[in-house]
Each structure stands twice: as C-alpha cells, then as structure tokens.
C-alpha cells in the first residue's frame, strides 16, 4: 500500500516536472537557436516569450483531428501516446538526488535501455499507420537507425556497468562519488565512452545530425507528416522528453549525477544543472550541423562507433580486473 502511494506521488511528480521542464526546454531551444542565428526568437507572448509553450499547447488542443484516408486508426491514435509514455517511463528510475528517485531498480540501466529500444515501435507505428509515403520512409529510417545505434548505446552503457560493477543507476552515482566521475576518470576512455553514449543518444532521439527520420527538407515532416493537433504535439513533445531524460541519464552515468564538482554542495540542483546543460548542448549541436545521409549514418555507426565501443568494453574489463581489484 505504501509502495503504491509512493509510486503514485512520485509518478505524478515526475510527469508534472518533466513535462513542464520539457515545455520550457522547447522555449529554451527556440531562444537559443534564435540567438545563434542572430534573431531574437519568441519575445511577444509573455515576458521574453516565456508563455510561448502555453500558447502552443492551447492552440494544439483545439485543432481538428484528421485521419487520413486508409490510415490504421488504432495504431495512428496509439503511437503518439506510446512515444510519450515510454519516454516518461524511462524517467522512473533516474535518481535525481540521493532520495528523489521514482524506483531505484537494481537493474535500472536495463530498464532504461529496454524502454529506449521500445521507443522505435511507436515511431514505426506512426510511420506505418499514416498511410503516407513520406511517413513510411521516415519510419523505415527510424527503425534502421534505432537498431543500429542501439548497439553502441548498449555497449557504452556496458562500459559504465563494468567500471562500476552495478546496474543500479544510484549505485553508479555512489560509485562515482567514491571514485570520481566516469567521464573524467579513467582519463581518456571514460570521456570517449561518454561522447559515444551521447552520440548514440542523439541518434536515438532523432536529433541532427542524426535526424534522418524527420528530415524536414526531404521527407516533409517524416513520421509526423499526417498528424494534427495534440497527437502531433505528443509526438513532438515525446522526442523532447526523450532527449531530456536521455540527458539526465547521461548525467547520471557519466557525470556523477547529483554529485557536485569536488563534492561541493552536492544535491538535486547539480543534477538539474547537468541535465539542462546537456539538453542545451544537444540543441547547440542540432542548430549548427548539417545532416548525414542515411547510408553514411549507418556506416558511421557500424564502421566506427561499434568497434570503438567494443574496444572500450574490453578496456573497461581489463581496468576493472587489474586496477580496481
């Protein structure tokens, strides 16, 4: 009973905080992009355009819902909800601080990876159910990309698991508090693993230079081409939530979670700062790079990233065996 109550409270809290954070994360992105392009960005709706996400939401709520002819209605409806649900569910195991964690699973990292892998199913559903060729191609690309980049993602997480000897996310943070952040220590491989993880993360959440499933200039709007109103909103937000949660996980696994630099004033705020910084850097990259072609993307993954991450796992095992024991 107590567990259920705790779950409800934490669940509600996480969803609320995460969605709010994501909404203003989108605002942050728009402002950031605008400044990068010597524009101003939203500045009319509310002070500094801060109410822009609210206006967007209000607008999306009242849009007509359209089902394209020949669409698979069930899948078409289900996909956006699943995208957002999976993205949020991942957050359940993220330790935001020593005790602010929804469910401190022993196999937390497994949960994260499993849900991340599942994400591709609703994306493909959306692409398939829309009965639109652009969406279909987008869906196919998403599947190919997600399966490929899942491999380095899992392998680099394995590096962290081998180093820390635990699969629990808070266990990883505690290890890092004791031994130093994984991204910085051991010097070299740690940071490479972090960058690889981060790159795979970019690919999983479909951000430039890995955004070929959405590819505005080629596929109109990729899998979301036929979606209107709030369902589009959910698909759209789902990706941002995914990026946000992914940043949080990267912060936990490699950047010491809630631990401050030199253990200064450790706590929730460090986690927030790290997450937002990573989240912003995703968009920094997004607004400055061009896009790869799909086959180049696959080559990058299978020819460079996968061998590199295998090497990292081996290195981690050796380090664990000879240095840590």
């Amino acid at each position: 009973m107590q567990g259920l109550l705790r779950g409800l409270v934490y669940g509600g809290l996480i969803i609320t905080v995460l969605m709010t954070a994501t909404a203003w994360g989108m605002w942050l992105e728009r402002k950031l992009a605008a400044r990068m392009q010597s524009r101003i960005g939203p500045n009319v709706v509310g002070k500094f355009g801060l109410l822009q996400p609210v206006a967007d939401l209000m607008k999306l709520l009242q849009k007509e819902e359209i089902y394209p002819i020949g669409a698979d209605r069930l899948l078409f409806d289900l996909a956006p909800f699943l995208v957002t649900t999976f993205a949020i569910a991942t957050a359940a195991v993220v330790p935001f601080s020593a005790d602010a964690v929804g469910a401190d699973l022993d196999v937390g990292i497994l949960w994260v990876l499993a849900l991340g892998g599942l994400m591709v199913i609703p994306v493909w559903m959306a692409g398939w159910a829309s009965n639109n060729k652009f969406a279909l191609i987008g869906g196919m690309r998403a599947v190919a990309q997600s399966i490929s980049y899942g491999v380095p993602l899992v392998l680099t997480s394995l590096v962290a698991v081998v180093f820390t000897g635990t699969m629990s996310l808070s266990g990883m943070v505690k290890f890092q508090i004791a031994h130093g952040w994984l991204a910085l220590w051991p010097p070299g491989p740690g940071v490479i693993a972090f960058l690889l993880f981060y790159m795979a993360l970019l690919a999983e959440s479909n951000r430039i230079p890995f955004d070929i499933p959405e590819a505005e200039s080629e596929l109109v709007a990729g899998i979301t081409t036929e979606y209107t109103g709030m369902k589009f909103g959910l698909l759209y937000v789902g990706e941002y939530v995914h990026t946000m949660v992914g940043s949080a996980i990267a912060a936990v696994i490699f950047l010491g979670g809630w631990d401050g630099p030199f253990h200064i004033a450790s706590g929730l705020h460090w986690m927030v700062i790290k997450t937002v910084a990573l989240f912003a850097s995703v968009y920094w990259v997004r607004w400055s790079l061009l896009r790869f072609r799909s086959d180049q993307l696959m080559r990058l993954c299978w020819v460079y990233l996968v061998p590199l991450s295998v090497g990292l796992v081996i290195f981690a095992a050796l380090w664990r065996h000879f240095v840590l024991s």
């Binding site: 728009r30 605008a34 392009q37 010597s38 524009r39 101003i40 960005g41 939203p42 500045n43 009319v44 709706v45 355009g49 109410l51 822009q52 609210v54 206006a55 967007d56 939401l57 209000m58 607008k59 999306l60 709520l61 009242q62 849009k63 007509e64 819902e65 359209i66 505005e216 109109v220 709007a221 979301t224 081409t225 036929e226 979606y227 209107t228 109103g229 709030m230 589009f232």
Partner: protein, 383 residues
C-alpha cells in the same frame, strides 16, 4: 458538440466535446474559450504556399531582419500542422487544384493570408490564360497583404492584423469590411469570389472535385541522343560559308537568320555539332496566321563554347500542315525545348522521343502562343 467553421461545416473539437459533458462547466468554458483564442492567435504555424517571387520575400520574413518567430509563428512543411496558409506567389490553373487540396488538408481552425498582388488578384498576369485571378476564388482569405512583392515587414503587419482579427472574432466585435477595395475600379474575376453570394455552387463543387483528383500523367517516351552519329566535317569553317557551300544558301539577310530548307535542317545540326557547336541555345517557333493556312517559322541557335561562344542561327519555314525534324537525336537539350514549342505554339516535331505538353496541363485545348489565341481564354472552374 461539434463546432461550426466559417464555411458552415462541422468539425470535431475534442476538448469542447469533453468539457461540455461535465455539468456546470459552462462558465469555465467561456473563460477557457478566451484562453484558447489567446493560444490560437499567438501560435500561428505557417504553411508557406510559396510559388514564386513573393515566396522569397516570405523567406526573408522568416530570416533575421524581421524574424516571424518573435510572435510565435514557425513554418511547418506539412499542411496538417499549420494554422495559416500564406499564399505567396502566382497561382496557375495547373497549380490551383493542388492549392485547394492542401487547403482542404489543413485542420480547422485555419486562416489564409494572400501575400502579394498575384495571390490577391493575379497581378498583371490576371488576364492571361494560365493564371488564377486571385486566390479568393478558390479559398476564403482572411488578410490581404498588397505589394509586388510586399516588404517582409508588410507580411509581419499582416500576421499582426490576423491576430487582431482572430481576437475580434472571438469577442464578437468583428465586422467584415463593406466594400471590397478593388471592386470599384477593377472588373471582378470571371469565377466569382468565394464569399460572393452570387457564386455558383457548382463551381465550388467542381473545384473540390478536381482538387481530389490525382494528376493525370501522360506516358513518356525515351530519349537516346548519344546514339546518333554526327556527320564528320573536315575543317572548321565559318558558319555562313558553310551554309553557302554545303547547303547552297544564298540569301543572308542583315537583320535575320538565314533560311534553311526543311529537309536539310537535321543534317545542318549534325554538321554543326561535329564542328563543336555543342550548346543548343534556343529553339523558337513563331506563328504567322495566313488566310491560306498558318505558317510557322522555327528558329534555332547553337553556340560554340570553344570559339568564344560564337552563335550559329538559322530558320526553317513550315507551310501549313508541315512538320519539322526534331533535333533531340543530336542535342539532349532539344527534348524540352521542342516540347515547349509543341506545347505553346503547336508545331509538330518528327521523331521527337517524348512529345508531350510540358507547361500546360495535359488536357489543355489549343496552343496559347499562336497569334490568334485569345490571351484571356477561360479555364473553368479556376479562371
């Protein structure tokens, strides 16, 4: 409850439907309505129906100097996620069904901005056969932004006016302007505007029907121009000397190109190609209506890029009913050039691999660049 849109059609409004079923919420719904209107007016996503010059100014509006993102408007490439269609540029009868269809694909509530004279009235193309005289003969326009092209700031102003209009409609203070600014001086379009009470409902029905049709594509032919063997020539000679010596042409008018007999025209092209006149510059047919039958004059121009772009120009005269040999087997460029002349002037080319219309819709009647073709020929239901 369904909501009624401007054109009188009902559409689903998921939030309303849910809320109105909760008893005692009508007050909340009223203020919610205000909130929704505020949202709608501050997050106008744009679908750019950018066809021509005005489209470039539309892009400039999205760029740094004006930055349409400031008022929360972003550009979406799919009509499904847009609220405003900005029609920026000339709409032709070939494009009109597509515009109508994209408009139908946009979810309610939606608005339209006609940007530039072309979208408003057809600009100076108004009385020409392929142009739709104003987009409001096809779909209801909310804001007109005049100019050719309007300055980016003018479009921004138009967006702000649209916001005012949305707010005023919600508050019930909106009144449609009484006199259409242009009806006093200019004759109205042949197809009545969409808000004209005298508009024939059959026209709307036909427009919707055609918008739903898939384009009809004529089967295309095949082109293989590298196969043809050029006629070998010995030495580079002057174009006029060549014509005089090998083709027996004596008349070289000062203001005009020499005339080559119809049956030797292909041979001339091959000879010139062997002499490095490898760029086909133009192929133009001119129509001369005559009582005893129409004649055509087809002019060709080739350039020699290795000799400072020297031009070789000649003409072929076609009596009524005659056709001319296509140069598509010698120059790949002749494919489209001759198709264009076939389409617009109606000259027949022999052995052309792919003689279809290129500019006009496949089912078009007549050839507009003939001298006796009326420039303002109608094309129902679009103009």
């Amino acid at each position: 409850m369904a909501v009624i849109d401007e054109s009188g059609q009902a559409y689903d409004h998921p939030l309303y439907t849910t809320l109105l079923h909760v008893p005692g919420l009508s007050v909340a719904v009223a203020s919610l309505d205000q909130l929704l209107t505020w949202g709608a007016k501050n997050a106008l996503y744009i679908f750019p129906m950018a066809t021509s010059c005005c489209g470039i100014e539309f892009m400039a509006t999205a760029a740094a100097r004006v930055d349409i993102d400031r008022i929360g408007s972003i550009v979406r490439a799919t009509p499904r996620q847009a609220d405003v269609m900005v029609i920026a540029g000339t709409i032709t009868v070939k494009m009109a069904p597509k515009v109508k269809r994209l408009w139908d694909q946009m979810p309610e509530p939606k608005w339209a901005i006609a940007m530039g004279s072309c979208a408003i009235s057809g600009d100076f193309y108004r009385d020409l056969y392929p142009t739709v005289p104003g987009i409001d003969t096809i779909l209801p326009v909310d804001v007109y932004v005049p100019g050719c092209p309007p300055d980016p700031t003018a479009l921004m102003h138009g967006m702000l006016r649209l916001q005012e209009k949305i707010a005023a409609k919600q508050a019930g203070t909106w009144r449609a302007p009484e006199v259409r600014p242009e009806t006093e001086k200019m004759h109205g379009p042949a197809v009545r505007r969409i808000d004209d009470p005298e508009r024939d409902p059959a026209i709307s029905a036909e427009q919707s029907r055609q918008a739903g049709l898939h384009s009809f594509d004529a089967p295309e032919g095949e082109l293989d121009w590298r196969g043809a063997e050029p006629v070998p020539v010995q030495a580079a000679v002057d174009f006029n000397t060549l014509l005089a010596e090998r083709f027996g042409i004596e008349d070289f008018p000062a203001d005009n190109a020499p005339i080559v007999p119809r049956d030797r025209h292909l041979e001339l092209a091959q000879t010139l190609k062997a002499m490095d006149y490898s760029l086909l510059i133009y192929a133009v047919a001119t129509h001369y209506p005559k009582p005893e039958g129409d004649t055509f004059e087809v002019a060709y121009g080739l350039r020699n890029p290795s000799m400072g772009g020297k031009l070789a120009q000649w003409r072929v005269i076609l009596q009524s009913g005659e056709s001319i040999a296509s140069l598509a087997s010698v120059f790949a460029a002749a494919d489209w050039q001759e198709r264009e002349q076939y389409d617009l002037v109606g000259v027949a080319f022999d052995n052309h691999p792919d003689l279809r219309r290129i500019m006009l819709p496949e089912d078009w009647q007549g050839h507009p660049l003939r001298r006796d073709y009326a420039a303002d020929t109608a094309c129902r239901p679009w103009r």
